[in-house]
Assembly symmetry: C2
Homo-oligomer: 284 residues x 2
DNA sequence: CCCCGTGATACCCGCCGGGTATGACAGCGC
DNA sequence: GCGCTGTCATACCCGGCGGGTATCACGGGG
């Protein structure tokens, strides 16, 4: 009556994302009619219209939007329950029984900090094994939510800390990475106005900077190469200097918002190993 | 394979809380054998032992503890999805279609602040209807998590803000509420040392102050009466002066931790009405 | 006008969730 | 030691429902 099975949520989320019963059914590995029926039952049980079926496609109602958001959160929570339980019981395929922490980091960022953190933590008595999980651009949050990770290094304003507990670790300015021969590369500092017309590389679904000129990139090597070839530029935290090439130039961007690195973890985590890692991090 | 139905979570949580298959089955309105079988299937599918069946009772394994925590969170998320979807679609029995916010407040606290907030918000153009939901002692967090409320007034250090977004609204000191004739009532200030031996009333599951002497109470009137009768004393935020009786005396407790009132809401809320309420609150 | 693509309906079937009856076993009182 | 009691597990059956296939209803476009 007033409870939803995760199966129903999966079905609805699939339909809501595809806005097409046929494709959603295919994605779910089932036929379309039972999917239609399931969604109808869902609407009846909730007493709410979730979709506007207007021949030629399907649209979400307000209630549908709400269920899409909340349903995703609930599915993440259920997935997290499975992953964390398996991990706690040592049935995650890692072989090792437990006392293992998964740390999500944006691939390639905060090298130095990460190094210091891992070294310092490993030196603690009774430290758990830490698996470093390189995450995509901005998906550390997802990884914490759905249980793929126990703790993450996150960078405001790129990542949102909403819904997590966190501690601040480090603040740094940002730099503009340019081809070495670029006219602006000789400057000692730059401001946002200076780079307004520059083609800046964009990570897909970054969300911080609006779509502008510049290519979409998917990994840092790709980016480094594009800059070296003079095809683009990029704005990065100071610590990105660690992976610059000889063909790159870095100029401080004085009026860019500072990037703050946090260590973040799901609220209400009750793990000794995690607490120890956090303590270590904040004392670096 | 790697997904759990909420039914299975409900079953496991019931067993984990009762630590007894028979009672859990009764609570779930079903017979014991299918419950046993369901839990066994769960353990097989997760590949993890969740319970130690030691004839004469059942105990949680480490993995079981984890699944209890995570499972509760997932069930809350699913319940929240149902409630919020119904609310968004106007099928919550409230009659009114939507644009309705449910605000959880600890019954009887922050009267003045609450008044000002509601008045100020009601004056905003296009303000939603606000339903004030008096919550038990410290369960505003639960209410936000499982969707009974959209936003809450919370008081650190009594409530935990973990997992929510919040804004600070007000800080106040604490007072000791005493019977008017009490020897300490004549003092102008008190310190924690002064009241060390005093019987202090305790809310059940409060968690902030360890169990000590003094009765357990369940509502504020009950407390007020017990104090007036000289049977106990209590420590409360300054704003509690609003509901004191003539037979009460209030003395500032100078070294008690200040109580900070926050407005808190589930992370990632995407409601215009909520944003407006928060904006109003922070501008009071 | 017909055909295509959409979601809805009709009908059937096999699986699995749930019930009842019973078993296995440990503790305990006599 | 024996039987009683309370516990969880096993055995077996049944009905409902989740899912499949076939088909319908309907709107839009060539």
């Amino acid at each position: 009556m007033d409870t939803l099975e995760t199966r129903e949520l999966r079905y609805f989320v699939a339909v809501a994302e595809e806005l097409h019963f046929g494709r959603a059914a295919e994605r779910l590995g089932m036929a379309q009619p039972p999917l239609s029926r399931a969604i109808q039952q869902l609407e009846r049980r909730l007493g709410v219209r979730l979709l506007d079926r207007d021949r030629r496609g399907v649209a979400l109602t307000g209630a549908g939007e709400m269920l899409l958001h909340e349903g995703r959160a609930a599915l993440d929570a259920a997935a997290a329950a499975v992953r964390r339980t398996r991990r706690a019981g040592g049935a995650d395929g890692s072989g090792g029984p437990r006392n293992r922490l998964v740390l999500a980091v944006k691939a390639g960022s905060s090298h130095e900090l990460l190094h210091k953190l891992l070294d310092a933590y490993a030196a603690e008595p009774g430290a758990a094994e830490v698996e470093v999980l390189p995450s995509g651009t901005c998906e550390q949050g997802e990884m914490l939510r759905d249980g793929r990770a126990d703790v993450a290094l996150m960078h405001t304003p790129y990542n949102s800390l909403a819904g997590f507990d966190s501690e601040e670790l480090m603040t740094e300015g940002q730099i503009v990475i340019l081809p070495a021969g670029h006219p602006l590369a000789a400057r000692h500092t730059l401001s946002l106005a200076d780079i307004a017309g520059l083609p800046l590389a964009r990570w897909p679904r970054d969300g911080v900077y609006p779509p502008g000129p510049g290519p979409e990139i998917h990994d840092q090597t790709q980016l480094a190469q594009l800059i070296a070839l003079g095809r683009t530029a990029a704005v990065y935290p100071d610590s990105a200097r660690a992976w610059l090439w000889a063909e790159h130039a870095a100029v401080p961007l004085i009026d860019a918002p500072p990037v703050v690195t946090h260590i973040a973890w799901p609220a209400h985590s009750r793990s000794l190993a995690l607490a120890e890692l956090i303590r270590t991090a904040t004392r670096l």
